[in-house]
Every structure is written in C-alpha cells, then in structure tokens.
C-alpha cells in the first residue's frame, strides 16, 4: 500500500472509465427488455384487431413507428448517456471530508465530513464484479443523505477510500 499514491490527495478524480461499459451494458439490457415487451404488446394488439375484425393494419402502422422511436431513443440513451454522465461525475477525498459531484442537468455537489461518517459499505453487484467495480456507500446520521452512494469506483480503490474514511478513534463524546 505504501507505494501507492495517498487516497486523501484533495484532487478531483473521475470515476473508473469501466463504469461507462457497465452502464452501457445495463442500458442495453433495459432497452432489450422494454423493446421485446413493447413488440409483444404491439403484435398482440394487432392480432387482437385481426381476430375481432378491427383495423389491424392501422394498429400496426401506427404502433410500429412508435415502437421504433422508443427503441431507438432507448438505444441511443444506453449508448451515449453513460459517457455524458461520466464526464459530469467526480469525487474528491481529503483529510477532512469526501466530496461527490454528479448530475448533467440537475447538478449537485455533496460534501460529507469524515467526522460525520457513521459506517461504510462497499458493495459489488454481479455486473460490477464483471468489470471489477465497486460501490462505496457512506452512512451518515442525516435525513436526506442518510446514505450517500458513490458507484463506479475500482473495487480496490473503493476499499481504500473506505479504509481512509472509517471513523477513527471514537471518543465517548461523539457516540451515537
């Protein structure tokens, strides 16, 4: 560990670039599920119209472009959005606090002082594991931010940040 650069460097770091691939994968899965479900619905509606002597052709001709539009939008979103949101996300750890920046349209910067950290988790879902990523979850005593999540970190790095932020030398005065 000693040869690695310190965690608390006070510099804004971008997330791990692999998070783009991860979010593209997740986006793709969502896109496929929605597209299949919508296609199922469209074909079902057309069939029902056929059976009931309804305007089957109209249903299909109106439904198909909508299906293409929705699927195309989702596919574009799955492809492009991870990159865009990656550009707008960063974090900074120093001796006193961790600061997380996020958001493309609605931007926010959240700062959690180290002394307010109650406990920390590093979680790794199945897809994250595939890319060697982890999510750092910071628990505070706050209300809105009782849980602050920072996803898209290299798993080993997430563990190191956790070590750094862990409440140290608790005195009796700051007990919960």
């Amino acid at each position: 560990m000693s040869d690695e650069p310190p965690i608390a460097d006070g510099i804004h770091h971008q997330l791990d670039p692999r998070v783009i691939s991860l979010h593209r994968l997740i986006g793709l899965i969502v896109c496929v599920i929605v597209a299949v479900a919508a296609l199922w619905g469209l074909l079902g509606a057309t069939l029902a119209a056929l059976v009931n002597d309804g305007p089957a052709a109209w249903v299909f001709l109106l439904g198909a472009p909508i299906w293409f539009a929705v699927t195309g939008l989702l596919a574009w979103h799955a492809r492009r959005w991870p990159e865009i949101s990656y550009r707008h996300a960063s974090y900074r750890v120093d001796d006193t606090a961790i600061e997380i920046r996020r958001g493309v349209f609605w931007r926010n910067v959240i700062n959690v002082p180290r002394s307010r950290v109650q406990h920390l988790d590093v979680s790794q879902g199945p897809f994250e594991r595939r890319y060697g990523l982890g999510t750092l979850i910071i628990h505070t005593a706050g209300t809105d931010h009782a849980q602050v999540q920072l996803g898209g970190l290299d798993h080993a790095r997430a563990l190191r940040i956790r070590e750094h932020l862990l409440p140290t030398g608790r005195t009796s005065s700051d007990a919960v």
Binding site: F105, N111, A141, G142, A175, V176
Partner: protein
C-alpha cells in the same frame, strides 16, 4: 434474578387488558347496535349466533394470556454502561441500549397511572421513527432510578448533576396540576431548575383559536355541500329539511329578498351556524387544555424538560446538546395576535403518545410531524427569540446579520411558479369551460405577489457556530442549525439556476423530518453559494459531531 433486575408492576396486566378492551370498544358498539336493530331471535345482523355475547368472552382468554406472559417475561436491568431489556416467551428478545445512545426518556401517565403512582416509560434513541423501547406500567421510582442511572452517567461528562429530581414533581408544575401521587417520589437533590416557560390557560385558549383556523375552510366546505344538496339525505334524517335542503342559503337569501321570510327565521338560521362554530371552538379548547394543561418548559442543568397534560401527564427530557435544529414559526393568526411557536428537532424517535392517542400539538394536519418537539406551542413573539437563545446559546435571532437572496431571485422564482399555475387553463379550455379564463389574471397576480413576498422575506445568516434560514410568507419560519450538527452540505444547480447563474445550498441534519424546517437556501448567486458551501463544509469538518 439479579439484584438490579426490574420487572413490570403486576398492575400492568390490568393496563394491557384495558388497552385491548378499548380496541374492541368500537366493534363492540357496532355489535350492540346490531342487536338493537335486528331481530333478537336471530342475533345481531341476522347472521351472528344468538348467544354471541357468550362467544365474545372467549376473546378475553388469549388477551389475558398475552398480558400475563408479557408481565412474566419482562426483565430490565442496568449494566455498567447499558440498559438491558429482555422480553418474550417463544421469541426471546434481549435489547441492549447503551446509556449514551439514549436521546430522551419520556414519561407518559394517564389518569389511571397517576391514581396508582405508575408510569409508562419511553426510551428514545436515534434509531428512527419509533421509540426504541416502551416500558408499560412501572412504579414512578423505576423511572426515577432510570433517569438517575442514564442521565447520571451522562451528567458526569458535562460536569453538572442532573440526576435525582423527578421532573414529574417539579415544584413549578404542582401549583397548576395537583399531582398527589408524585409525592411518593422524594426529590433527592436540588439542581438549578429554571422554568423557562409556563403556559397559562388563557394562552391555551388563544392557541385553540389559532389552531382552529382550519375551521373556516371546513365550515365553508360544509356550506357548499349543503348548497349543492349533497347532505340533503343527512338533513332529512335529522328532520331539518325545512331549513337545510339543497341550496338552503340561496333559498334563504331569495326568501329574504322577497320578504317571504320572517326575520326571526333568518336570525334562527344564522344563530344555528354560529352556535355550531362556538361548539366546535369549545370542543377544540377543551381538547387543547386536556393535552397541554400546565405546560412547563424547564431547564435543568443540561437538560430541557417539558411537562404537560391534564388527564394524561407527559414528561419529556431533551438533553440540550442533542437538539439538531430549532425553528421559530409564526402563522398568520399568530402574527396578528403577536404570538409564535418554538420547536426543536432531535434525532430521537417517535411522537409522544398518550395512552392510545398520539399527542401532536401541531398546527393542523399539514404541519404535523411526529419527531418534532414543541418547546413552546405558544409564546409571545417578543419572547420567542429570548427563549430560543436560552435553549441554543449560539443562536440569537435579534443579533444575526441577515443576508437577502439574489437580487434577481424574484424573476428566477416567479416564472416556473406562473407556468405551473397556468396548467389548469388549457385543460379548462379543452373541456370547453372557457369561463375559467376569467381567473387567469387573478391567478397570475396572486402567484407573482406571493412569490414576491416570499422572496422578500427569505434570508439567511451565519456565524461560526450556526447557520440560519428565514422563509415563508403567510407562515413564517426561522430555522437554525448548529454547524456541529451538520451531517452533509449539498450545493445544487438546476438548469434554470444555471441560466440565471444561481445555486442553492442545502444542509442535512439528523431527524430533519419536516421539509419546511430545514436550512435549504435557494436563489443565491454562484459566488455566494460556493463560498457559503465551502465555509459550511470546512466548519462542519472541523467540529466533532456529538449526538
């Protein structure tokens, strides 16, 4: 049983039986009514067995068994630094609560408790919405011992002794509510107890009027319902169809215009309405007095104590250093009468219930929050800052230098508000109700005016120890947060903010259940917001958080 182990008082069996019976009271009433209305031969509602009352007795057996088991299995003991509570027969449960995690200890005593010298004890930690443990029915001495042990350990840290004196036997409260049974607990040590606020009955009457501002819309709504004949059926059954059939007011007015109605009839109708209002107001007054009679706020060492209630007596203890936020609030009626209310939030859980019904002396349902504690449900507005100052020494609303929002805040705020308010109009046109458009300028004007007022009143202030935010227009609030209690600071920027070069700073604290009671400062210029954010985060990081 180890010597320090405590049990419930045997009378707790009776109390829990009583509680269960109360729960059955409403269905029971229905049953009784059912007996009356249907043929006796076939039993109530015609489908229950004829000897249903005998069958109902069977319910008592499991209830009693549960109560007895609860009594037999409950154990509580004090270990070095924690309270251990064991309960349960099949599912054993042992709960360890360290003393320094205990936020508040509340005592809740109904009339029966007080007759028997008993109390319910609620132990609150920061664990969330509900009380960590509720100990039903123990002698007062147990509460006394618990306060001594829990707060005694804590008092050593702050260097003053808060143990010993029972808040239920405060000298100040005795004059107003004779509490014979508290004499059984002898005050053991005298520490500086200072009554900060006492609320006389006259003020409670005023409070009931202030809380009743919800009465007017209800009365108006009822009136409308009468007008449109919705309640006609109800009126018919009450034999009131003469006066109160659909469109009663309209008919009344018409008749009056045509001189077809004697003036005594008009007077009678108006008197009836007035009488109803007076009746509701009286009921509300009785209710407020029952809950808050003899309200005393006391500072005892490092603890705040509130003590109130006519029948069910509630005593709460809030350690001063556990106050997360403090809010002074003034609604319209409060401003007109020169009153305000002061409340604090702690991280401790739950509302303070009084044997079955929860006590929330809020301002009507919209502002009721479980976690909030009123230090003063009503206080003169001139005294409110001093009261807040004595509770939160860092916070003096009179001395703060208030900073206004961004000069262009009104322009930034009014556009989205007006856009939102316009949504109904296209819908109305689409529904072919174009007459709604008459309201168009009124709505726009009102939104602009109220936004202007809100922006003009909003302001923020900071010192090294606190950050405060003033907001609202009709209902005005000042909320203060100690920097040592800040959990996280957020800097936000919406696309609209970005166009206007503005940002918003939001402070998160523990127990901030009520959104309106937060420090959440919108419409700041970028530079001001960034600086404030940096200062707050630096100050928060340099302080140790103590619950």
């Amino acid at each position: 049983m180890t010597p320090s182990e405590r049990r419930l008082h045997p009378v707790s069996i009776l109390f829990s039986l009583w509680k269960s019976l109360k729960a059955f009271a409403v269905p029971g009433l229905f049953l009784l009514l059912g007996v009356r209305s249907s043929g006796a031969a076939r039993g109530p509602f015609g489908f229950l067995p004829a000897n249903w009352d005998a069958w109902a007795m069977w319910f008592l057996i499991p209830i009693t068994a549960i109560a007895v088991v609860r009594y037999l299995t409950f154990r509580m003991r004090y270990e070095g630094a924690e309270l251990v509570i064991r309960s349960g027969l099949l599912f054993r449960n042992e709960r360890h609560i360290p003393y320094d995690r205990i936020q508040n200890i509340n005592a809740i005593r109904s009339v029966f408790h007080r007759l028997l010298g008993m109390t319910d004890v609620q132990i609150e930690t920061a664990s969330g919405q509900r009380a960590e443990a509720t100990i039903s029915v123990v002698p007062l001495a147990v509460l006394d011992e618990m306060r001594r042990r829990v707060f005694g350990a804590r008092a050593e840290a702050v260097g003053s002794s808060v143990q010993g004196s029972d808040p239920l036997s405060l000298g100040v409260s005795r004059g107003q509510t004779p509490d014979q049974d508290t004499d059984s607990v002898a005050p053991q040590s005298s520490i500086t107890e200072q009554a900060i606020l006492r609320i006389p009955v006259r003020e409670l009457a005023l409070l009931s009027v202030i809380q009743n501002k919800g009465l007017l819309p209800i009365a108006a709504g009822m009136g409308l319902l009468w007008e449109f004949g919705v309640l006609e059926g109800a009126a018919d059954t009450l034999g009131l169809e003469r006066f109160f059939s659909g469109g009663a007011l309209r008919q009344l007015a018409e008749a009056f215009m045509n001189r077809a109605l004697e003036s005594w009839q008009v007077t009678g109708a108006l008197a009836t309405m007035l009488g109803a209002l007076v009746l509701v107001q009286t009921l509300s007054f009785v209710w407020v007095v029952a809950r808050l009679h003899g309200f005393v706020l006391t500072r005892a060492g490092e603890d705040l104590r509130t003590d109130y209630g006519l029948l069910t007596r509630v005593a709460t203890t809030i350690p001063l250093r556990r106050i997360q936020t403090l809010t002074i609030q003034q609604g319209l009626l409060q401003r007109l009468t020169g009153r305000a209310s002061v409340r604090v939030e702690t991280a401790g859980g739950g509302s303070v219930p009084t044997g079955g019904m929860s006590v929330r002396f809020g301002e009507g349902s919209d502002s009721d929050g479980g976690d909030r504690r009123w230090l003063a449900p009503i206080v003169r507005e001139t005294d409110a800052p001093a009261l807040a100052h004595s509770v939160l020494p860092e916070f003096d609303a009179r001395e703060l230098a208030w900073n206004p929002l961004h000069p262009r805040a009104f322009r930034r705020a009014v556009k989205p508000a007006q856009l939102l308010s316009l949504i109904p109009f296209p819908i109305a046109v689409a529904l072919r109700e174009p007459w709604v458009l008459i309201a168009f300028p009124v709505v726009l004007g009102w939104v602009a005016y109220s936004t202007h007022k809100r922006i003009a009143h909003a302001a923020w202030a900071e010192t090294d120890e606190i950050v405060a935010f003033r907001s609202g227009w009709i209902r005005q609030r000042v909320t203060a947060v100690r920097t040592a209690k800040i959990q996280a600071v957020t800097l936000l920027e919406s696309p609209f903010d970005r166009r206007a070069l503005m940002r918003r700073v939001r402070v998160d604290t523990a127990g901030a259940s009520e959104r309106s009671d937060r420090v959440d400062i919108p419409y700041l210029s970028r530079e001001v917001a960034d600086d404030l954010y940096r200062r707050l985060t630096a100050r928060a990081a340099s302080t140790e958080f103590r619950w």
